[in-house]
């Protein structure tokens, strides 16, 4: 008895069986509050008033129409890309290559923007750019999917490495064949006909991603293909037993995922940046993993989460301007918030059991 007790670790983890929805949300809200409190520490260390700083973040992201537009513009690719990776993650296929898929979509869209903008009418050009972006992103994603399906390669590493190839291709285009003024490392700005029109002051990419939200919800929850994805995610063997062609489903799902990322790439170059450079994806492919995860792969929840992250990003920019805090402080605060929000999911799924508590249970 005594030895058994000694062997019990101080803290043990146990999977929670059930938890009320109310408590789940209490933990989530609590984690945000804890994050906000922890976020005060770096601000106090740099000698700023944290309340003022949080105020500036809110003001700098939503208080003026211009800022709100910029915030929404930041949220669009996050939302779109989170939608893109959701089916992969549902399938437990860890696609962390969205960055590269966005980039390849952007490259192909840029090709038409640079060389066909004076030959094709505006609307048609945009459709061609979007389609070519989708196909390029999709094909880029199919490469690791094919290897996974055929030889069961590690998709996490494969998709990750594909990112750097895509980024390298853009860096080459930037300094080589597509460069504007020699030595400038800049690809010329798109002409007006290759730019997305704005609706309510923000590029109409927001309409595209909102439509995608609905489509993705229907696809994941109401279609046979969505069901197949869910089954594979739960158990590959069950899927095989049910007669599903797992390899084909992996390739198909990755193509859809990559295609949506490619469209996001098109929206970024045609709606926001108006040119192409190697940092075109700007970490969206990674941040959107957080968005997808925090939203529990629910497409509607992604709208809110991507807005929260966009508010933080835009707001911390203003924080830098007004309070002259270094950019890294703003990054630290964002990091703390994400860390707390993600780790709270851990406490929702597991509970901690302390040793003395168990002792009580034994004696009782």
């Amino acid at each position: 008895m005594n030895t058994a007790e000694n062997r019990t670790p101080l803290i043990r983890l146990a999977k929670r069986t059930e938890m009320s929805r109310r408590n789940m949300w209490l933990i989530r809200v609590g984690s945000i509050i804890i994050a906000l409190i922890l976020g005060c520490i770096p601000m106090l260390l740099t000698g700023n008033n944290p309340f003022e700083a949080y105020g500036v973040i809110i003001q700098g992201s939503v208080s003026r129409p211009v800022y709100l537009k910029q915030t929404i513009r930041t949220a669009i690719p996050l939302l779109g890309c989170a939608l893109a990776i959701a089916p992969c993650f549902k399938m437990k296929f860890w696609n962390i290559g969205a960055e590269g898929q966005i980039t390849m979509g952007a490259v192909f869209a840029t090709y038409f923007a640079l060389f066909w903008s004076d030959k094709i009418p505006h609307g048609l050009l945009l459709i061609i750019m979007a389609l070519s972006g989708a196909i390029a992103g999709g094909l880029w994603a199919v490469i690791p999917a094919f290897f996974k399906a055929k030889w069961n390669t590690n998709e996490t590493l494969f998709t990750l490495m594909m990112n750097y190839i895509a980024i390298g291709i853009v860096a080459w285009l930037q300094g080589g064949p597509w460069e504007g003024r020699k030595g400038s490392q800049l690809i010329p700005m798109f002409s007006d006909s290759a730019r997305l029109p704005t609706v309510f002051g923000v590029n109409c990419g927001w309409i595209i991603v909102l439509v995608l939200v609905v489509l993705m919800y229907i696809y994941m929850n109401k279609t046979k293909q969505g069901y197949e994805i869910a089954v594979i995610g739960d158990s590959v063997n069950t899927a095989r037993y049910a007669g599903m062609n797992v390899g084909w489903i992996i390739v198909r799902t990755m193509f859809i995922s990559g295609a949506i990322s490619g469209v996001v790439g098109f929206i970024i170059v045609s709606g926001a940046n108006f040119t192409l450079y190697s940092g075109v994806a700007d970490g969206v492919g990674f941040t959107s993993i957080t968005v997808a995860w925090l939203s529990q792969l629910n497409s509607f929840a992604m709208i809110a989460i991507s807005m929260i992250l966009a508010i933080l990003e835009k707001g911390s920019n203003t924080l830098q301007t007004r309070m002259e805090v270094p950019a890294s402080i703003a990054d630290i605060i964002t990091g703390i918030l994400l860390f707390c929000m993600l780790s709270c999911e851990f406490f929702i799924n597991y509970r901690l059991i302390f040793r003395h508590k168990e002792k009580k249970e034994v004696t009782a």
Partner: protein
């Protein structure tokens, strides 16, 4: 659990109040003698080079303007990329009430120009680029300085040192080789190392030069590697057109000499670095801001040189410089200032064995190749006359390009 949820709700309400009571929006300056100026920088002061030089200019201009009764409130943003973050930074500075917004890097300009039409009452300045001056807008401006003049003088200092080494028998005349670390094979860089080379050859006739491009404006490791590789290829003098101080330390570690750019580098490489040249941005900032406050127009394209103090030399490292260098520098400075010395005098260099008789300065049709305004006249190539940004792209004899990086 109830207790916990109560605490959470209270905390949430508290933090909500805290947000609401956060800082009020800052109003734009209303005092006519106070002007709010945005300065958007590609790096930060820690580079001890390019951005640091702008910060020095900012502080200097602030002092000069204060003496004139003008207060400048600066909004300085650091580490901005040459990408859409620059567009956002310009919007941000405009929304925060800046009346003048200065973009410090070449690659900022296209992104800056995306914003300027939204804010016609705000003056936008793109340093070192060339599209703003000719875009037909009143509120966009370019600025640069005749840095090739300073580089010519740095070249004179280097050439005198090399000649001294030849005279003392330390190296043979044909061993007087300069190694130049350049960022990109770009007009600004080509113009810079050509003027430097001509300066060196004016006092050391046997000098030759090798140029290595690192393909980045700021990559400390690559710059150091390039400098070391040049030393390995026999270069005994290193100079640079890149943002870091690592070429200076690399030169010192191999016991060769160095001349710098943007900042005095004798502090970190006292046994190697002879002198540096830099643009004094304070002169321009002072003129532009003063013009704005007085209700005058900021020049569309501003370019001044040594005569006006816009290009300056840092302190000469007398301990290692050749004797008589200070006097020679003063003499050349005076000659450049009064116009009696042309840096790109066509009688001092050849291109493919021939004298240069023709080169265009400006690109007017947008294909990024110069097509108008003859720059060669009166026996010299006239740099930075038709626009502030350099346009000398000729490859002259005596300079060997080890690679190219576009």
């Amino acid at each position: 659990m109830k207790k916990l949820s109560f605490i959470l709700i209270v905390l949430m309400l508290l933090s909500g109040f805290a947000f609401a009571s956060g800082s009020g929006e800052t109003a734009a300056a209303t005092d006519p003698n106070t002007v709010k100026v945005g300065l958007l920088c590609i790096g930060d002061e820690n580079d001890q080079g390019y951005t640091y030089n702008f910060i020095r200019g900012r502080d200097e201009a602030t002092e000069m303007l204060k003496a004139d009764g003008i207060n400048v409130e600066w909004v300085t943003k650091f580490n901005i990329g040459e990408d859409a973050t620059c567009t956002d930074a310009n919007i941000e500075a405009a929304e925060e009430g800046c009346q003048i917004i200065i973009n410090n890097s070449y690659g900022f300009e296209p992104f800056m120009l995306e914003v300027v039409d939204e804010y016609p009452e705000i003056e936008f300045i793109s340093c070192t680029n060339c599209a703003s001056a000719f875009d037909g807008r009143d509120n966009t401006h370019n600025a640069f300085a005749n840095i090739y003049e300073g580089r010519y003088i740095a070249g004179v200092v280097a050439g005198m040192k090399l000649q001294q080494m030849i005279d003392e028998g330390q190296i043979a005349p044909e061993e007087a080789i300069i190694g130049y670390v350049g960022a990109y094979s770009f007009a600004e860089v080509i113009s810079g190392f050509t003027s430097y080379f001509l300066g060196a050859r004016s006092v050391c006739p046997s000098v030759t030069m090798k140029v290595s491009f690192v393909g980045s404006w700021s990559d400390a490791t690559a710059e150091s590697d390039a400098a070391l590789a040049l030393v390995d290829q026999g270069c005994v003098m290193i100079s640079q057109h890149s943002d870091n101080t690592t070429p200076a330390t690399a030169a010192q570690s191999r016991g060769v000499f160095h001349t710098g750019y943007n900042n005095d580098m004798t502090g970190i490489a006292p046994n190697a670095s002879l002198i540096s040249t830099r643009i004094d941005w304070g002169i321009y900032f002072y003129e532009a801001i003063k013009a704005y406050v007085n209700g005058e127009k900021i020049p569309q394209d501003w370019c001044k040189g040594m005569a006006d103090g816009a290009v300056v030399m840092t302190q000469l490292n007398e301990a290692i410089a050749a004797p008589g260098t200070a006097e020679k520098v003063a003499e050349v400075e005076a000659a450049i200032a009064d116009g009696s010395l042309q840096v790109f005098d066509t009688s001092t260099f050849t291109v493919g064995g021939e004298t240069l008789t023709h080169a265009f300065a400006l690109d007017t049709d947008g294909d990024f190749t110069a097509d108008s305004e003859e720059a060669v006249y009166d026996g010299a190539f006239h740099e930075s006359v038709f626009q502030s940004a350099p346009y000398f792209t000729v490859q002259i004899d005596g300079i060997e390009w080890l690679n190219a990086a576009y």
